[in-house]
Amino acid sequence: MSGVWPEPLPAPAAPPGPRILDIRDLRVSFPGKGWRAPRVEVLHGVSLDIRPGETVGLVGESGSGKTTIGRAVLGLAPVHSGAVEFRGERIDRASARRRRRLSQDLQVIFQDPFASLNPSIPVGETLAEPLHAQGVPGRDARRRVLDLLGRVALPADAAQRLPREFSGGQRQRIAIARALAIGPKLIVCDEPVSALDLTTQRTVLDLLLEIQEQTGVAYLFVSHDLSVVRYMSHRVNVIHRGVIVESGDAEQVTTAPRHPYTQRLLLSAPVADPAAQRDRRAALDRRRAEENT
């Protein structure tokens, strides 16, 4: 995969409607390893936007920078240049105080449900955390926690238990409940199902869809899996080495991609039907042969 890919395709015209999130020409760089090492840029000018209630997928391989985009939106990665606008307001340089207020509207679900819950804090307290941060009084917070647990189909006594008493899928439900605690407008979903088994994966995805239908929350959905992104997203962005190479409607990008990298990504993912996979493999071989000539 060290080949040089053609230039990214021009982004399609911005779709109509109000935007909840607007990222323009975002660059993120991290300090290099070692003393006086130059900074390493991982995002080279990324632009994307999300409308209220919409899911925008972001698909790429490891090291592509897909996770960094989500972290930059959340203020967990340093923005070097470019703009992140949330509901019409610049947030890329938001103060710690502004960030704390933003947490009402902007939430996250991380990849690893084992790492995203503190193992020594009972689930109920973890869920109450965002409520306390927003100044919800204790009694209301407790009621809200029970409400949230019911919403993600966990029993009420889950509040007193520690994360290790739950399975991977259940923990991810807890993480979803935490993200929903204060009724956010946008949730960054960073590979929310890639640590889960196939059958659990499907139920968690369906829960996310159901929540979106009920609340009108928007998702920035980050994943390495084209089929998951396709299932979840209205629009899809394909990112490779810090650059978005193709974006468009889910159907178009995931079935008839135009950029060679997306095509390669699609053909590389095996499908669970031997006959279809034989065709896909043949197509991949042809592509490889073309690329080599």
């Binding site: 409607g17 009402q104 503190n118 955390e129 238990r161 991977g168 159901e210 095996p270 279809a276």
Partner: protein, 597 residues
């Protein structure tokens, strides 16, 4: 929603750990913890109440020098005719008090600086870390002696210096843990939840460092007591202040005359230090999670399984690999858990058989038992495994070893952790070939380079000389495949060989496996959770759930017309054929909310 719940609860029971007792109760149930805490309590109490329990430690009656016990003086008199019991108790006050000062100083320097350095990093971390290393490189005893030259012979001041000297042990501990916690996703999640740094440190960070700090306190207290007593023993403390170290010094001066005088201060010092360290090690068990269960006796791991009876259940057995009624158990007796319960599987020459299942289904355990490399505590408890006609269940290790690498080879899941970091790639490829094929160093190196070429590595020479951390994951997996091929096996056991790889790299590695399999006529047992990989590579497939095989058959038939309900659930969860999400339509609710009334 209800459907979601039920299928989620399908997960193997082992995925969720049982509840643990509260720390206090665990402490009370640990005899080592209770006894050492009691000992420390008695010592501390006696020392605190010294003025009530004994007389003036300085009062000397020269006539009574070396006299034995008498009423009111249970331990007799020392060389200057002073009451040993009084000196022991008052000495304890000074010794333990000094250690306490040192501990307090060390804690108040080490913990806050560790918290700040670990949480915020940057320049403070760099400076504090250097200072910590600097102090740790100083021999404490020499520094204390030098400090005495500067500060004079005041024990209490020296204890402050000692506190500074042992502070880095707290600093390092706290800094290390906090830096790890700082990178945890749950701290990120708390920040996104709108928590202030102060609150995050108080809630998420302190709770994690609490237990290690308590353990370290006990350890450092032991060290402080030992150094304090050592200083006093050298006779350079505060003149005739009674301490255990000073008492030992006096006793040692008179060792030829009356060696027994060393007994009481020695005992006091030894018991206190030992109780502290034993308390620390018991606290570690009590407070830290995931204490490893006691290892099972070795004998059980080697237990021979009675030779299998000829299987009549599953027809003719394949020539290359044939597994019948395999069971794998962990633990022994009543607590034994079966993770594989009666598995039959066959791989013929040149055939690729997939073994699919979700995590915890027992598929990897099946693969490990074929290779005879089950993790510690696991054993084949029943069944038969024939590899190229040889029964390997109960086979002596030496003969089994002859099969491994030569007849049956292994490709693991995680490429980066399966290469020994201390040896070059070439070294690791050459070693088995020299040993097993008896090749010369040069011949083996040539063959290794040839193998690297065969697994389509562009620059074999460079990779040959590289260390594992210098190559990428995809490259490492190719190296592992080359290693598996090095002694021309007939059967390949591949355990999730592409799971850790990116999808484009996965496609290349699958292609490579397919080519090698066809060229060499390999039989392959491919363990995977990915039905796409199965469709791509396998002739036949076996579906595993909860330690059992629920369905076996030709790949096309199982994947397109599954018979078993579990297989059907699995295939229905695949998203390949699910429709793409239709284009976004402005939600009415959201619109309504945005439009001013």
């Amino acid at each position: 929603m209800s459907e979601a719940l039920t299928s989620d609860n399908h997960l193997p029971a082992g995925a969720a750990a049982p509840r643990r007792a509260k720390p206090v109760r665990r402490f009370l149930r640990n005899p080592q913890a209770v006894i050492s805490a009691l000992v420390l309590g008695v010592v501390g109490g006696a020392v605190l109440l010294a003025p009530l329990l004994s007389t003036d430690p300085g009062a000397a009656e020269l006539s009574k020098a070396f006299a034995g016990a008498e009423p009111g003086h249970p331990l007799g008199f020392d060389s200057a005719g002073r009451d040993v019991w009084s000196r022991l108790l008052h000495g304890g006050r000074n010794t333990l008090g000094g250690a306490l000062i040192a501990l307090a100083v060390a804690l108040s320097i080490g913990v806050p600086s560790g918290l700040v350095a670990g949480y915020y990093g940057k320049w403070f971390d760099a400076v504090a870390n250097w200072a910590g290393n600097f102090v740790m490189a100083l021999p404490a005893m020499v520094v204390l002696l030098a400090s005495r030259a500067i500060l004079g012979p005041t024990m209490w001041v020296l204890m402050v210096v000692l506190g500074v000297l042992v502070a880095p042990s707290f600093f390092r501990l706290v800094r290390g843990i906090v830096a790890t916690v700082r990178g945890e996703l749950y701290v990120d999640a708390a920040r996104v939840s709108g928590l202030r740094d102060r609150r995050i440190i108080a809630r998420h960070v302190l709770i994690v460092v609490r237990a290690p700090i308590i353990i370290q306190i006990a350890l450092v207290a032991g060290i402080a007591i030992s150094l304090q007593a050592g200083l006093e023993f050298l006779g350079i403390g505060s003149g005739d202040l009674p301490t255990w170290g000073a008492m030992l010094n006096e006793a040692f001066q008179n060792v030829q005359r009356s060696p027994l005088f060393m007994l009481w201060p020695g005992l006091a010092l030894g018991i206190t230090s030992a109780a502290l360290v034993l308390l620390a090690s018991a606290l570690r068990d009590v407070l830290e999670d995931g204490g490893t269960p006691p290892p099972r006796p070795r004998a059980a791991r080697r237990a021979r399984v009675s030779a299998p009876t000829t299987s009549d259940s599953a027809g003719a057995r394949a020539a290359l690999l044939s597994v019948r009624d395999l069971a794998v158990s962990y633990g022994s007796g009543a607590s034994a858990v079966d993770v594989v319960r009666g598995v039959d599987i066959d791989v013929a020459e040149g055939e690729v058989v997939g073994l699919v299942g979700q995590s915890g289904s027992g598929k990897s355990q099946t693969a490990f038992s074929v290779l005879g490399i089950l993790p510690e505590g696991g054993r084949v408890s029943r069944g038969s495994i024939l590899i190229a006609g040889t029964e390997v269940v109960g086979l002596p290790e030496k003969r089994y070893r002859a099969l491994r690498g030569g007849v049956v080879a292994y490709v693991p899941q995680e490429p980066m952790t399966n290469l020994d970091p201390a040896f070059t790639v070439g070294g690791q490829l050459v070693e088995p070939m020299r040993l097993r094929l008896g090749l010369s160093r040069k011949a083996a190196a040539e063959r290794a380079l040839e193998l690297l070429r065969q697994v389509e590595i562009a620059d074999p020479r460079r990779v040959f000389d590289a260390y594992p951390h210098e190559i990428s994951g995809g490259m490492a997996q190719r190296v592992l495949i080359a290693g598996a091929m090095s002694c021309d096996p007939k059967l390949l056991i591949a355990d999730e060989p592409t799971t850790a790889l990116d999808v484009t790299v996965q496609a290349e590695v699958l292609e490579l496996l397919r080519r090698l399999q066809a060229e060499r006529g390999l039989g392959v047992l491919l363990v995977t959770h990915d039905l796409g990989v199965v469709a791509d590579l396998c002739d036949r497939v076996a579906v595993m759930n909860a330690g059992r095989i629920v369905e076996t058959g030709r790949t096309a038939q199982v994947l397109t017309r599954p018979q078993d309900p579990y297989t059907r659930t699995l295939i229905e969860a695949v998203l390949d054929d699910a429709p793409a999400r239709p284009a976004w339509v402005a939600p009415r609710a959201a619109d309504g909310a945005e439009v001013p009334a």
